[in-house]
Structures are given as C-alpha cells and as structure tokens.
C-alpha cells in the first residue's frame, strides 16, 4: 500500500513538473478551469436575480447542490478521472502498450500517469462554492454531516465508475473525445435538485443512471431534506461501480495493439 502511494505521488509530481514547463499556460488553465466551473452557478444566480426559482428551493440550497457536485468533480478530475484522456490518448498513439508491461495493474498505472494538475482549479472552485453556500444556510447537525460524508464517498465512487466506463470505451472506440461531451451532458442533471424534474426524469437520474448521487442526493442529506429514493441511489451507485470494473476488464481483453 505504502509503495503504491509512493508511486502515485511520484506520478503526480512528474505530471506537475511536466505541466510547469509551460508555466504561464498552466496557471491560466487552472484559473480558467475554476471560472468555467462557475458557469452553472452563475446561471443559477441570474435566474434567481430575475425573480425565478427552482420550485421549492432557495438560491443557496441550489448553490449548495452545485457546490457538492463541483467538489466531487474537483476531487475526481485531477486525482483519478485522468484515466479517461490518458487511456484514449495512449490507445490512439500506441503507448498504451507501455502500461501493459509495467509490473503494476494497468488500471493503477493509468491513474498514476493520468494525474491532471490543472484540474486542481476545479477543486478550488468546488471548495469555494461549497463553503460560500453552506455559510449562508443553517448549520447541519452531526448526523446530517455523517450521512453526507457516506453519500459523498459514493459520489466519488460513481465518478470513478464513469471514468472507468469512458476509459474502457476509449479502448475500443479509438480517439473519441466526444465521450467527454456525452458524459458532461448526462451528469449536468446532477447539478440541480432532482425534485424539480418530472417523475420519469427523477427515476432515470436516481435509479437507472447514477446522476443525482453526483450532487443532489448528498447535498439534500446535508440540508436535512433527503431526496426521494436515496437508498435506491446508494444501491445503484454500488452496482454501478461493480459494473464499471467488470466493463473495464472486458474491454481490456478486447485491446489490440497498433504497434505504437
């Protein structure tokens, strides 16, 4: 375990050093990452400032949901979601083979070499929004914090599952960066209170695809007004992780080298 952590930290250090070769671009990218992630919260603020609401939710409650979503994304993106672009890029240019011959599991190596330093800007954005929104709301109880932490752990698990599925698809669907776009579109629903959508949409994003768990479900637990189907969402998140791990193994077997 200690050895794996050391390898991971070395990967992060290398990624950071590589990115610092273009220092100005790195810092600008980090800043922009932060600002880009603030787009949806900004739209939410504009909607509320124009006198409209998400029915049943005040502005800071809605922003808290978006803060939780961005916090999850902010942790996933730099630390492990890099498996997606890393795998797609390596399969496309043939260097995926190099991961296969390492004396460590391919998945672990894909995570280590996929550390994305500039995505730390997303994490800063997530922490900022989460903190601001939370400071404007009544303080949650200890029980609500505990529920939130358990659910937020599942949020990260689901992010990891999505990462695995997208990376797996990248093995057989060569060079397709549009996968990000599809993922982005689907998961955006997690930035809004699930309860504002129609029943069929709620069912889809809670019990069919684990999307509400990315923001709405843990945030509503923290607000003390848990979403309908929270327990079901937990089950779906666990099943999703198992499915994604199986999918990764299945797609890995289908990998055919193009020779670099």
């Amino acid at each position: 375990m200690r050895n794996n952590i050391r390898i991971y930290l070395q990967g992060a250090k290398t990624a950071l050093a590589t990115r610092m070769a273009y220092r100005a671009d790195f810092f600008m990218s980090m800043l922009i990452m932060l600002l880009v992630e603030m787009t949806v919260p900004m739209i939410t603020i504009l909607i509320y400032q124009n006198g409209a609401t998400f029915p049943g939710w005040d502005m800071y409650e809605a922003l808290l949901i978006q803060g939780v979503f961005l916090l999850g994304k902010g942790i996933a993106a730099p630390f492990f979601f890099g498996i997606v672009w890393n795998t797609i890029e390596r399969v496309q240019n043939g260097t995926f083979d190099l991961l296969l011959i390492k004396p460590k599991p391919v998945l672990f190596m894909a995570i280590v070499t996929g550390f994305d330093a500039e995505d730390l800007g997303k994490l800063v954005g997530g922490i900022t929004l989460f903190t601001i929104a939370l400071s404007r709301l009544p303080a949650p109880s200890l029980g609500e914090w505990l529920q939130f932490l358990v659910l937020f752990l599942l949020t990260l698990t689901v992010h990891f599952g999505y990462g695995l599925i997208l990376a797996s698809l990248g093995i057989v669907w060569i060079g397709n960066y549009r996968l990000y776009e599809i993922f982005g579109s689907i998961t955006t629903f997690g930035m809004y209170p699930a309860a504002i959508f129609s029943k069929p949409v709620q069912t889809v994003i809670t019990l069919l695809l684990p999307v509400a768990i990315l923001g709405s479900v843990p945030a509503t637990a923290l607000l003390g007004r848990p979403s309908a189907g929270t327990l079901g969402a937990v089950g779906v998140a666990i099943l999703f992780l198992l499915f994604s791990l199986g999918f990764w193994r299945w797609m890995l077997k289908k990998y055919t080298s193009v020779g670099g």
Partner: protein, 239 residues
C-alpha cells in the same frame, strides 16, 4: 461542458423554472427553448477547432510539414473546416433541428432567411479567424490551452450561448455590447430570430449584419498581422 449538448439539460431545467410562471424576463417557455435551439444550431454549424490544431502542430513541430506544402496553412485549415461542417450538418445540425421539431414542437426557421444565411456565413468565417489568431499565439506561448479555454468561455458567455444576455444586469449588458464576441454567436442568433437588442439598444438587421462584416474584416487584418510576426518565431525542431 459543451454548449452543443447543453440544450438537452436546459430544456428540462427551464421547464422546471417555468412550472410556476408563464413568462420570465419577457420570454415565454417556447421563446426560451427556441432561443436555445437556434444557439445550438448555430453552434453546430460554425464549430471550429483551428486553434487547437494549429497550436498542436506548432508545439509538436509537425507544422514544418505544412510549410513545405504549396498551399497556405490558413487555406488548408479553412478548407478542412468546411469539410467538417458539411459532415456535421448531417450528423449534428439536422438531428438537432428534428429533435426540436418533433420532440419539442419548436420550428427553428429563420425570420429572414437571406440575412440569417449571410450572418451565419460571416459567423463561420469570424470564428475561424478568431480561433486562428488563438492558434497563432502558440508561436510565442508554445502551449495555448489556457488562452484557448479563456477565449471559449468568454465567447460562450458573452455570446449568450449559456443564457440570453438580457438576463445579465444592465451594466454587464453594456460591456458585452462593446465586446466583439457578440458578433460570433449572439448576432447570428438575433438575426435568425429577426430582432436585435442588447443593453437597451435595438438595431435593424441589415445594420447589425454590416457591423458583423466590419468585425470580420478587422479580424482578418489582425490574423494577417499576427501571422506575419508569429511565423518569424517558428523553429522546426522535432518534426
């Protein structure tokens, strides 16, 4: 988040927002969805990746191979864009149009087709030229991902791709009015609708398209100047 697929979420969000009201900021739900439909359609038809392609080839050194060819890089890149967008017309624009028409019962038909087509054409060229300029900055910066993201974000925001600009506070609308970004997407969107208004200023369609033409010419001149100075800095190592 890609603005081209952004509309799918927006439809559900705005339906929820409009559940308790009939108009918002003077727009009905149908008008709001029409706005997003047009913006998405224009986004599909004019999308451009010249900035990324150019900076990539400069950074990797493969740009050298383009210099050896008997045609200019800008012509090649523009021709590639036309090819990509012709393909995208069938696989992106037509499906978006059909989704809006059959699923949401919204007809994305321009108010004045000739002006809309002209404005769309100018937007097509303008996006290419601005992205080309972003790509050229790689002669100085080598890696331009940060500038590129900054530009795209500013463009999408100030072009009203994410929310109609009339939702912004008055002071911000005034700033956006004087920024050139509006000519890329906001102007063609408004020309498509048949009515231009920003920061309390209304302009006739021919006048706003003429301003868009001027912006395109200015951008062309900027691109030429940047290229003139940038190309002198290129050293073809690692091709």
């Amino acid at each position: 988040m890609s603005v081209r697929s952004f509309f799918l979420t927006q439809i559900f969000i705005w339906r929820a927002v409009y559940a308790t009201r009939t108009t918002l900021n003077g727009l009905t739900l149908e008008q709001m969805l029409t706005y997003y439909g047009i913006a998405t359609l224009i986004g599909c038809l004019t999308y451009d990746s010249t900035d990324w392609d150019l900076q990539w080839s400069i950074r990797t050194g493969s740009f050298l191979t383009y210099l050896l060819r008997p045609i200019s890089y800008s012509f090649l890149a523009f021709a590639q864009k036309i090819g990509h967008r012709i393909l995208a017309f069938w696989v992106e624009s037509v499906p978006v149009f059909l989704i809006f028409f059959f699923v949401f019962k919204i007809r994305l038909v321009p108010a004045e087709p000739a002006w809309a087509l002209l404005s769309l054409g100018l937007s097509f060229v303008l996006i290419f030229l601005t992205n080309y300029c972003i790509g050229i900055t790689a002669f100085w910066l080598t890696k331009t991902e940060g500038i590129r993201r900054a530009f795209l974000s500013l463009r999408d925001l100030s072009a009203g791709m994410l929310i109609p600009l009339t939702f912004f506070p008055e002071w911000m609308q005034k700033i956006l009015f004087y920024l050139p970004f509006q000519f890329i997407t906001y102007v063609p969107t408004r020309v498509f609708i048949g009515h231009y208004e920003l920061a309390g200023v209304s302009l006739p369609i021919p006048q706003v398209v003429a301003l868009q033409f001027v912006a395109t010419v200015v951008m062309y001149a900027v691109a030429r100047v940047l290229w003139y100075f940038g190309i002198k800095r290129f050293t073809g190592v690692g091709a």
